[in-house]
Symmetry: C2
Subunit: 209 residues, 2 copies
């Protein structure tokens, strides 16, 4: 999305926008720290993508609140939501600050990150290739948790984010997956997503999703 | 802790302080949103406690960095840590903003929170009573996940916080437990912690922890 793209008003319930902001900003925090602890510029990039999305949602929420509030009672009911949304925007900005530090190469020094490698779970990004065995399959069918100890915590599909996707979510070619797991598991996961490993034990290449 | 308490310098590795700040601020975000979505002033209180702790850690980190940096190379290695810690402090402040909104009764209106009751997991606080069956038992032994679908995500013991406690952690009388689960599970959890329910199916009152 370009920084100057116009945000169009689409009617959506206030609670849904707020929940989406909450989920996305929570994801941003996780990704931002992981980006910082492991000097991962790909993840930093995703954090900045998420910040744009949260900004758009904050703007949409403002508009929705304006339209929804018809009297003092409405305004009272909605003022709290606006305040919480404001704090969410601050959280998202702080996460973006961390991402910018990582992108500018002034992040945490390898001397410090080395130690994190051992204690912290890894989060990483992978882009699903056309020839990946994942393409067209449901997350539950792949059973990555059981097989390689990796969980998909979010999917970016174009401008849309799916946070904590359900087992019924089908993975499409071109999806950007955010996953959490051990270092070894994550490196396997990347190769599977990119189509370099063409077989996950027990998952047939031509099985329907 | 009083707001004016002096922070004493205790030597602790930079990475440990940073990891603790990261874990506590992540917990703050979860608790702050839960406090806002369900108008829970107890949780808001815990968020403000956590903010004090993060502030203290930020101050301790500053001192540690000052002492650790002896030349330009050290300074370069530590500048990134200081920046990430600064962003963490901002995240913690924003979470505290949400908590203050809840405490001032200008939080999200019941009309909006009602809907969250159905879709969102609950987080709640419970204080362990002397006569609780939990007292003196290890978390793993209690198996609250299996029995009532509740996970203990943090323990506050005096001024100390244990985030994501291990199964080997023993629960003590007076502990403040933060738990996540369904509404029904959480309400059972509270009664068990407070000693109102004296028996969890399968856990004997006098079993050793």
């Amino acid at each position: 999305m370009s920084e100057f793209e116009k945000v169009e008003y689409k009617p959506k319930p206030v609670r849904e926008i707020l929940l989406e902001m909450k989920n996305l900003s929570g994801l941003m925090i996780d990704l931002a720290y992981s980006a910082a602890l492991f000097n991962d510029k790909d993840l930093a990039e995703e954090v900045l993508e998420l910040e744009k999305k949260v900004d758009t949602l904050a703007y949409l929420l403002d508009m929705t609140i304006m339209i929804a509030a018809r009297d003092a009672e409405d305004a009272e009911a909605l003022a709290g939501v606006a305040k919480v949304a404001g704090a969410t925007d601050k959280i998202s900005d702080a996460a973006a600050d961390i991402a910018v530090i990582v992108k500018q190469n002034i992040g945490i020094h390898p001397i410090v990150t080395e130690i994190f490698e051992k204690v912290e779970e890894h989060i990483a990004r992978a882009i699903v290739g056309e020839k990946s065995v994942m393409t067209g399959k449901k997350i539950g069918k792949l059973n990555l948790t059981g097989r390689i100890g990796v969980d998909i915590i979010a999917i970016r599909r174009g401008g849309d984010w799916i946070v904590n996707p359900s087992n019924d979510e089908k993975i499409l070619s071109g999806d950007i997956l955010i996953a959490r797991g051990t270092r070894l598991g994550i490196s396997k996961f990347r190769e599977i997503a990119e189509g370099k490993i063409r077989r996950i034990v027990g998952v047939k290449e031509d099985a329907a999703g």
